[in-house]
């Protein structure tokens, strides 16, 4: 295709992408560089049904004037990225200076919320993603080998976890594993320990979240691989069989290589989604044991009285950066494959 033609073809998509993806990211980045004005405070007496006290108030007129002079706020550079709620450079230096060994250094780092969330998010991503790939492929092969009459039903049932909205599915499971719920109470009975509680234990909570993550995203991998299985060339399969390959060998040497582009695609999607894990943490009320960068963004913005736009923007930018780093190996691999094919 001529470059000129290609340009006109791609223009509508490109402009939509610039408008709805690139510009918002730029705006978020700019926002992350500014913090709120200094608040002008006055002390005055406030009285109500419970008596009078001296209390501080914001001088709204003076603050409004500051706001008018500099609508974006005070320029803060990249300082928000390195403060205690984000990369915490000063705190890490302090921990490094005062720590007595590796374990006290790790304890010190784990005290910083950004790194604590990062550890959970990465564990979640690297446990859930491979499990979903493996089980997704297994279910797809299983369904593909069923007699034709049962396939429709099997596909429908396998897709169910995906059809249930995340927030609803995790809410239901959360009630079931609650100390007063059917699974939680049964476990307490079996182990005869009334203080056994999934919601009170960090390791159990992590396992719960990951099991839920696998259950919920499995159908996505399954349906993609199932579609891919329909395109496996029959003559190659037959050739393998003639060469004396058993089912397992055929699977590893013929089917999986054929599905590789799909595996890359599913991996990309899963890595992105899992890194931004959010709804299960809310529904399981897991904030005590597991946080992700997404929950930080929401809690910064939810506070209508004092929303921390800079902090939320910085966390968003760091999330994007994290996703890029995670995806880089897969993207580089795809790029190499593409080049290899081109030559």
């Amino acid at each position: 295709m001529k470059h000129r033609t290609f340009f006109w073809f791609i223009l509508p998509t490109l402009s939509a992408m610039v408008l709805f993806i690139a510009l918002p990211i730029v705006s978020v980045f700019i926002q992350s560089l500014f913090v709120q004005h200094e608040q002008v405070l006055v002390v005055s007496e406030s009285c109500g049904p419970f008596g009078c006290v001296e209390e501080t108030q914001v001088d709204t007129e003076a603050t409004a004037q500051l706001r008018e002079e500099q609508p974006l706020g005070r320029f803060n550079g990249l300082a928000t990225y390195f403060d205690r709620s984000h990369l915490a450079s000063a705190e890490i230096a302090e921990v490094w200076r005062t720590s007595t060994g590796l374990s006290s250094f790790i304890d010190g780092i784990m005290d910083l919320k950004f790194y604590k969330a990062l550890v959970f998010t990465l564990t979640y991503t690297f446990v859930v993603t491979p499990l979903v790939l493996i089980f997704g492929l297994a279910v797809a092969v299983g369904v593909n080998n069923l007699p034709k009459a049962f396939r429709g039903v099997a596909i429908f049932i396998s897709l169910l976890p995906f059809l249930v909205a995340t927030i609803v599915g995790s809410m239901i499971l959360s009630w079931m594993v609650d100390g007063e719920g059917i699974i939680g109470a049964t476990l307490q009975n079996i182990f005869n320990d009334p203080s056994l509680s999934i919601k009170a234990s960090t390791p159990l909570m992590w396992i719960m979240l990951m099991v839920y993550g696998v259950w919920h995203t499995l159908p996505f991998a399954f349906i993609t691989f199932y579609a891919g299985l329909q395109t496996v060339p029959q003559d190659t399969l037959e050739a393998a069989r003639v060469d004396g390959a058993n089912k397992w060998q055929t699977m590893i040497s013929v089917v999986v290589p054929h599905l590789m582009p799909l595996v890359s695609f599913v991996t990309l999607m899963l890595l992105m989604d899992n890194f931004r894990v959010f709804e299960p943490l809310v529904s399981f009320q897991a904030e005590a044991h597991a946080q992700s960068l997404s929950t930080f963004i929401v809690s910064d913005l939810r506070e209508a009285g004092n929303p921390l736009y800079a902090s939320a923007s910085a966390t968003s930018m760091l999330t994007i950066l994290g996703v890029v780093i995670l995806l880089a190996p897969v993207l580089i691999r795809t790029w190499r494959d593409f080049n290899a094919k081109a030559h």
Partner: protein, 414 residues
């Protein structure tokens, strides 16, 4: 048509009421748009305003919903604002005043508020900014039958007595976890700290500044007190907010609870629980801690405000409509729905806990512009301590560091 009928009914009820109060709804044909949280007391107040003044107004809408605090600032920022009035509490009035979104009410009070008690007027810097109509606080709920069975005499009045009673209940094999309290990570964890911090005589900020002051002997004492209670609390406590604790109470799974007074009516009514639980539930003052005399509670009020960014006549009509409902007539019908601050309220059993807590000198929840930031820092950073991963000193140091980071970004600290 319905509105007219309702207004007529309201007017007739008003005439027949003991005070023969005729609603003065201010300028007619104006727009009244009310936003508030969705619970029975606010439904009653907004409903009374509608019954009295909907016919007089050109437009009358009521929007009661959950989590109004998350959107009220955005709703009042444009000019004209989305609502002419927001029904607020201590903390949400602060958040609206931080952005200068509500107007002083003095002239309207003089014109329409003769029936209000002076203690209902929330005066800040000499201006009336809100009119309170109900009070709320946390306090102790006890099951007298369980306490008796375990050999505990009377209702516990201090945290030490609560813990001793819990130990007796556990030792008697009646309940393994007799205490419930709202310890859900986030706002509730922060609020529980406030209760026991104030009871131990703490001040959240250094006087006259936005500098944090929680990493102090009072802070450590407060955490010690809370930990002693959690020893006997339900193992899932870090995921329990009001709905969960009320549910456990009504299911008869707890013997002592620190819950909101506003839940008292719902706990004592004949819905959602058994007679065994409701007839033995007693509401009393919040316990004191560490030998002090201040109950471990914060006092709250709910009240009406009027938006700033609206035409003056809409503001006047809105205020007139809302306060027209805050009369003894409302008490006739809705006496048990809240702990009302309105003339004519007769405190019943559901109000006993809040009244006793207020009378014992509990502190009001502070109306300080940066209180939200401190509350959030407490809510997220104390969790490590409650899980046993961190010492009290370290957790409080983390709270101060997290607060400083947020307060710097919000412009309260340098």
């Amino acid at each position: 048509m319905f509105l007219k009928k309702a207004a007529l009914a309201g007017a007739i009820a008003g005439l027949m009421g003991s005070t023969a109060f005729a609603a003065d709804c201010g300028p007619s044909g104006k727009s009244v748009r009310i936003l508030g949280s969705d619970f029975p007391a606010i439904q009653a107040v907004a409903g009374a305003a509608e019954a009295n003044c909907a016919a007089n107004a050109g437009e009358f809408t009521i929007n009661l919903r959950d989590n109004t605090r998350d959107m009220m600032n955005q709703a009042l920022t444009p000019n004209p604002a989305e609502y002419t009035s927001v029904i607020v509490a201590n903390s949400t009035l602060t958040q609206l005043m931080n952005d200068g979104l509500v107007r002083p009410l003095d002239e309207y009070v003089a014109k329409y508020g003769q029936h209000l008690k002076p203690s209902q007027l929330i005066t800040i810097g000499g201006n009336v900014m809100a009119v309170a109509f109900m009070a709320n606080s946390q306090h102790l709920f006890s099951r007298t039958d369980v306490l008796e069975q375990a050999g505990v005499e009377g209702i516990p009045a201090t945290v030490e007595e609560v813990v001793a009673a819990a130990e007796k209940i556990r030792a008697a094999g009646i309940m393994e976890h007799p205490i419930v309290m709202n310890m859900k990570v986030g706002w509730n964890v922060g609020e529980i700290f406030n209760l026991f911090f104030f009871a131990n005589g703490g001040e959240l900020f250094k006087p006259g500044s936005a500098e944090p002051n929680v990493n102090s002997p009072e802070g450590i004492a407060a955490l010690g007190t809370i930990k002693s209670l959690l020893e006997y609390a339900h193992p899932d406590h870090l995921s329990h907010a009001s709905n969960e604790t009320q549910g456990l109470w009504e299911a008869g799974k707890a013997a002592m609870a620190i819950m909101w007074g506003s839940r008292g009516g719902a706990v004592l009514d004949d819905e959602g629980s058994s007679d065994e639980v409701t007839s033995n539930t007693v509401l009393s003052a919040a316990p004191t801690a560490g030998g002090g005399s201040t109950p471990a509670a914060t006092l709250w009020w709910d009240g009406v405000t009027v938006a700033k960014n609206i035409p003056d006549e809409d503001a006047e009509a809105t205020f007139a409509a809302l306060v027209s409902g805050l009369t003894s007539d409302l008490m006739e019908e809705h006496n048990d729905k809240a702990i009302w601050l309105i003339e004519g309220f007769r405190p019943g059993p559901a109000a006993a806990g809040v009244s006793a807590t207020a009378a014992a000198g509990a502190k009001p929840y502070p109306m300080i512009p940066f209180i939200n930031l401190m509350h959030n820092a407490l809510g997220s950073e104390l969790v490590d301590f409650y899980k046993g991963d961190e010492s009290a000193e370290d957790a409080l140091a983390d709270v101060e560091a997290a607060y400083r980071t947020a307060a710097k970004e919000a412009g309260f600290l340098q």
